[in-house]
Symmetry: C2
Subunit: 418 residues, 2 copies
């Protein structure tokens, strides 16, 4: 058989030499003087950690290897790539590195099994979510990343030099998801990158992040989108539980599949609950990061749940396209998971005249939004959806210390390389 | 039962009125005077095409409807959104629109069943490809879109104003896929957007496009990546065949699952074959668009195949990171499908010293590539992969007239809205 991988460890015990390989599996190469040729000993003399080797040999079932998936007696060993002895980061983590070092030498950091585990779990979560969406009639689509008009506030968008014009990177494929619905696609999802030019240095923001964004037509109200969202999350988590037990153990995470429906709290009750917990927010105001933490505590205590939907935000703090439930409150929904806002969504306003009034109310420029609003004149169904932040969710699900750990190569104000 | 959709047609036949709805299904609402209340007749009087209505009623099996999926006798009809009478584009296609008009009013264009079919087929193709990759041990990953250094020529990249610095949109997640491999992930795929600032107006280029990009470690040579690529394509096409017969028929496409392995032609034989077809390319030169067309014809005639791999391109015309097979030719592979280059790939150079020599040979700045090359000093396995252009592939598979038809909201030098 043929195995290959990165040399994680070489142990010399006189007549015995063990080489532990990191690769698709963890393999122990066992060399015993007399049993294997002396050439193999000299070929692997002073073999630096992280070198890549290929081994032809046969599997043994002597069970000498305690922690390897496979033990191999070599007949041939080929050193494919000899690593430099001095590593800027030790993938065996015997010498631990600080966070900036980890990010600087990310490819070496990624070799750590506990780091690999994060991405294996992330892939399973997304696949579980996608499969549920497919099975429930949602079509995978791709909406554009480059947009000709800064959609919302415009404050935190990245500008692109687009030939001789200016364009922007989307913050959320929100408006194009709506236009896809107006295009007669009644249930869609879009998994892709979004960007926010957020100059902050928090552990919960990145400049580039992915979302699972869902939009659906012919809903009764925003509750329909919440029912879909919780099923998407449960399907993702179930898939992780099925496929990634080993990785969860490695990270010390016990995954509990949440009960549905998730509890919900609405404004203005949010103000009362927060006030009861000692946090005062002005009536009609938005909540803040600390409130998210408190509402999670509330959800744990009252509902024994890590999830809670927060609904009916003040229209005043939300974008023009959300649907109002009355003059003050909007059918605008956040999902809080373990103290963190992991998604935003709700029902969108589909009535052209109401939409135009809301644009007036927000004192926005009607003409600059016409590329979007004009299509509501030709038949628009009630619709809504949500965008779930993938890295944000995984960061909380796995109790990571920094959202950047959930991105292969995170991007922020100081990081665009590697 | 409750059905809803866009009014596609209203037919009045004296005592009978038929309303045909476009939605998740095609529904015919049948109203007979005396059988349904007169209120329903007045509510649907002068109902403009493309209005959105909701109907409560019961299904009938009288089979009056010839081409609808469902026929409903209404008890209640609610007009949700009344469309303006004058439409800038007719989704029934009784009045056909020119291409620029289609793109300008894309949400109306998207309502056409033959346009919807393209995206349903595209989703099935991608899902089929993904499932094959998952089943064969490839991990779904997301590499960054924003990069701090223009990777290749730098000529056709979009520049992003990144806080107070400059950054770029990736042309291909190539280099980060390689760094992910160096991060110990041995089989990965990345489905996401790429950008090319191509100012041309051809029917085969867009500024923003998606690729299914695959990278794998421990390959023997570039042939391994070709074997994976053809399986990915076959899996995608099979899924289309299984799930989208109706859509294929609507587009008049007969899908044939290609035989594998796909035929292959190598440089310098490419020059001879082309010369035999009357096309002369200087020895050592790159091929062009016309050559792609000719090589397809060659593949059809010689192998009865719409696919042909073109391998061993001149190193001189390829980027620094490709692996040479000898001094002149590289393990660099394109796939031609129906006269169109749909993917690029091959084996990458993993030996640090060789990589550095190739950078010298290309007269590139070593220091500006250090963020990438430095990681090859710490153990690099042989690896390779490919990036298959999704819209490009679908455009050819469905014999579309313009690649833009395979993007919901295409982006090019004149289009960033809607």
């Amino acid at each position: 058989m043929r195995v290959a991988g990165w040399v994680s460890e070489v142990r010399d015990l006189g007549k015995l030499r063990f080489i532990v390989l990191r690769g698709e599996r963890k393999v122990q190469i066992t060399m015993k003087r007399g049993e294997v040729s002396d050439d193999l000993f000299s070929a692997t003399e002073d073999l630096p950690q992280e070198s890549v080797i290929e081994v032809i040999g046969f599997e043994t079932d002597r069970k000498i290897a305690r922690s390897a998936d496979l033990e191999v007696i070599p007949k041939e060993i080929r050193v494919i790539s000899r690593a430099e002895k001095k590593l800027p980061l030790d993938p065996n983590w015997k010498v631990q590195a600080l966070f900036p070092t980890r990010m600087k030498y990310r490819p070496l950091d990624l070799r750590r099994p506990e780091v690999q585990a994060v991405f294996k779990i992330e892939a399973s979560f997304i696949k579980g979510a996608m499969d549920w969406l497919d099975e429930n009639g949602f079509l995978m689509v791709f909406t554009p990343s480059i947009i000709g008009a800064a959609s919302e506030s415009g404050a935190e968008v990245f500008e692109v030099k687009y030939f001789d014009k200016k364009a922007y990177l989307r913050q959320d494929p929100q408006l194009h998801r709506q236009l896809t619905i107006l295009g007669g696609f009644t249930r869609i999802y879009d998994i892709g990158p979004n960007w926010r030019a957020d100059p902050s240095h928090t552990t919960r923001h990145m400049s580039e992040f992915r979302s699972i964004a869902v939009e659906m037509a012919f809903i009764s109200d925003e509750e329909d989108t919440m029912r879909v969202e919780e099923q998407v999350i449960v399907a993702g988590m179930r898939r992780v539980q099925e496929e990634r037990q080993k990785e969860l153990e490695l990270l010390g995470v016990q995954l509990e599949i949440p009960r549905t429906p998730f509890p919900e709290i609405r404004f203005p009750q949010v103000y009362e609950v927060l006030e009861g917990m000692g946090k005062r927010i002005e009536y009609g105001g938005d909540y803040d990061t600390e409130s998210e933490e408190l509402l999670w505590r509330y959800a744990r205590e009252k509902y024994n749940s890590d999830f809670i939907f927060v609904n009916r935000f003040p229209f005043a703090v939300k974008p023009f396209y959300v649907m109002k439930a009355d003059d003050t409150w909007a059918r605008s929904v956040d999902l809080i998971y373990k103290g963190e806002e992991v998604s935003s969504g709700g029902q969108r306003e589909h009535r052209y005249d109401v939409l135009m009034r809301q644009i007036e109310e927000k004192k926005l420029d009607k003409q600059s939004l016409e590329w979007f609003t004009s299509f509501f004149r030709y038949g628009a169904p009630p619709h809504g959806g949500f965008a779930l932040g993938v890295e944000r969710f995984i960061y909380r699900m796995l109790n990571l210390q920094n959202i950047r750990e959930a991105a292969l190569f995170p991007r922020d104000i100081e990081r665009v390389l590697p």
